[in-house]
């Protein structure tokens, strides 16, 4: 551990900005993926579900 280094703190702040932006972008992409998958592959109506032979 060293004394506080302004450059390191500023780099940390930049990572805070880029990191949170990156997280929001990737989670938004995942949300989009979920919407697309759900739209493309909706659940089958219950009547189409395989029925128990008994």
């Amino acid at each position: 551990m060293d004394r506080v280094n302004t450059e390191v703190v500023l780099a940390g702040l930049r990572i805070l900005g880029w990191g949170m932006a990156g997280i929001l972008v990737t989670t938004s992409l995942f949300m989009l993926l979920i919407y697309v998958l759900r739209r493309a592959f909706p659940p089958k109506p219950e009547s189409e579900e395989p029925k128990d032979a008994s």
Partner: protein, 369 residues
């Protein structure tokens, strides 16, 4: 020839620091047994710490079994990766797929990771070590180990102990912060459950799609997200029930055991009993508090624009401590209003936190050079 110098070498080499580490190890074992705090990890960690601090312990000497496990399982990052396969096989992403907007809470609750990174730089840590400390806020033990192994191997033990200790303290830490940031009226907000189900095809394609997307955004995150999603694919495919069960039980138990005792063995008196360890424990608490606050405040922020309000408490479930955080939020909701069932929403936010914490780890690895 008879050599007697090995006899009683432990006694003659014993120092106060070793005794203190026995007490630290014993305390972790006590917390695991008497308090039920993450027992499957704290017990092996505690015993590993005792094994490692016996003077001239052959277990941690070159070629000793703990030294070997450390070299093969931790330094190669193999154990955290195997744990992710097990976690993936245990995760049910259906509540998240039913309500995709919960994904945002997983993102918001990663604020603690990056905030603590900045706090650590202010405390004088170099950037890589600050990043490894910040990742405690992912509330995700394997991710913490993975990042610390790469960026701050000397801090691996305190970072891991902090991560798992605070995860076990989620039921104490989170309600304190949530109560300070929300009003009783907000805590009583009810949320309707989505009635639409999720098709099996969606459940199968989701882990593949997430792996591809995450890999394209941050290729360095592929080992983490890929192993989590591989485990989930084993589960959701329903084609390999034996493998899925093995991942959830045998693999999870075996690797947890080996991971715990190996991490414990890195808790050597000379590196663990330092002011840095106390500082890291303090910053771990900051990380968990900032995660919880980030998620709750994000929920309150969204409510400024939404006609159908959401319960901001579910924002706190966006951390990766699964399923403990979801249970805590659900219990707080029913305490305020016995008819308010938030469990499924909280579980959705919680599994979103599982994915987001890995992405936070991946982004840290990509951004910090």
């Amino acid at each position: 020839m008879v050599h007697t110098d090995g006899i009683l070498a432990g006694v003659t080499g014993l120092t106060l620091k070793h005794v203190l580490m026995f007490i630290v190890g014993g305390t972790l074992i006590w917390l695991a047994i008497a308090k039920d705090y993450e027992p499957s990890l704290l017990l092996p960690i505690g015993f590993g710490a005792i094994l490692a601090n016996i003077p001239f312990s052959a277990a941690v000497a070159p070629g000793g079994f703990l030294e070997l496990l450390n070299r093969v399982g931790i330094l190669t990052e193999l154990f955290p990766i195997l744990i992710f396969i097990a976690i993936g096989a245990m995760c049910d992403f259906a509540p998240l797929l039913q309500n995709p907007s919960l994904m945002l809470f997983g993102a918001a609750a990663q604020f603690g990771v990056f905030f603590t990174l900045v706090v650590a730089t202010l405390a004088g840590f170099p950037l890589k070590e600050a990043a490894a400390i910040g990742i405690i806020g992912a509330a995700d033990g394997p991710t913490s180990i993975y990042v610390a192994t790469r960026f701050a191997p000397r801090l691996l033990a305190p970072i891991t102990v902090a991560a798992y200790s605070y995860m076990s303290l989620v039921p104490i830490i989170q309600p304190l912060i949530i109560r300070r940031l929300t009003t009783p009226k907000e805590r009583r907000i009810r949320m309707s459950l989505g009635r639409e189900g999720v098709s099996r095809t969606t459940l199968i394609l989701f882990p593949i799609g997430v792996t591809l997307l995450a890999g394209l955004v941050a290729p360095i995150s592929v080992p983490l997200i890929g192993s989590l999603m591989f485990g989930n694919l084993l589960r959701e495919s329903r084609a390999v029930p034996a493998l899925s069960q093995a991942a959830q039980k045998e693999l999870a138990n075996l690797v947890t055991l080996l991971l715990g005792i190996t991490i414990g063995s890195t808790m050597r008196a000379e590196t663990f009993l330092t002011p840095t360890t106390l500082l890291i424990m303090g910053m771990g608490l900051v990380a968990f508090a900032a995660d919880t606050a980030g998620g709750v405040l994000f929920g309150k922020f969204l409510n400024l624009f939404l006609r159908r309000k959401i319960n901001p408490m579910i924002g706190a479930a966006g951390i990766s401590a699964f399923p403990m955080s979801a249970r805590v939020i659900a219990r707080m909701a029913t305490k305020e209003d016995p008819q308010n069932y938030l469990l499924m929403h909280a579980v959705g936010a919680n599994v979103a936190g599982q994915i987001a914490s890995i992405m936070a780890g991946g982004l840290i690895l990509a951004l910090v050079r």
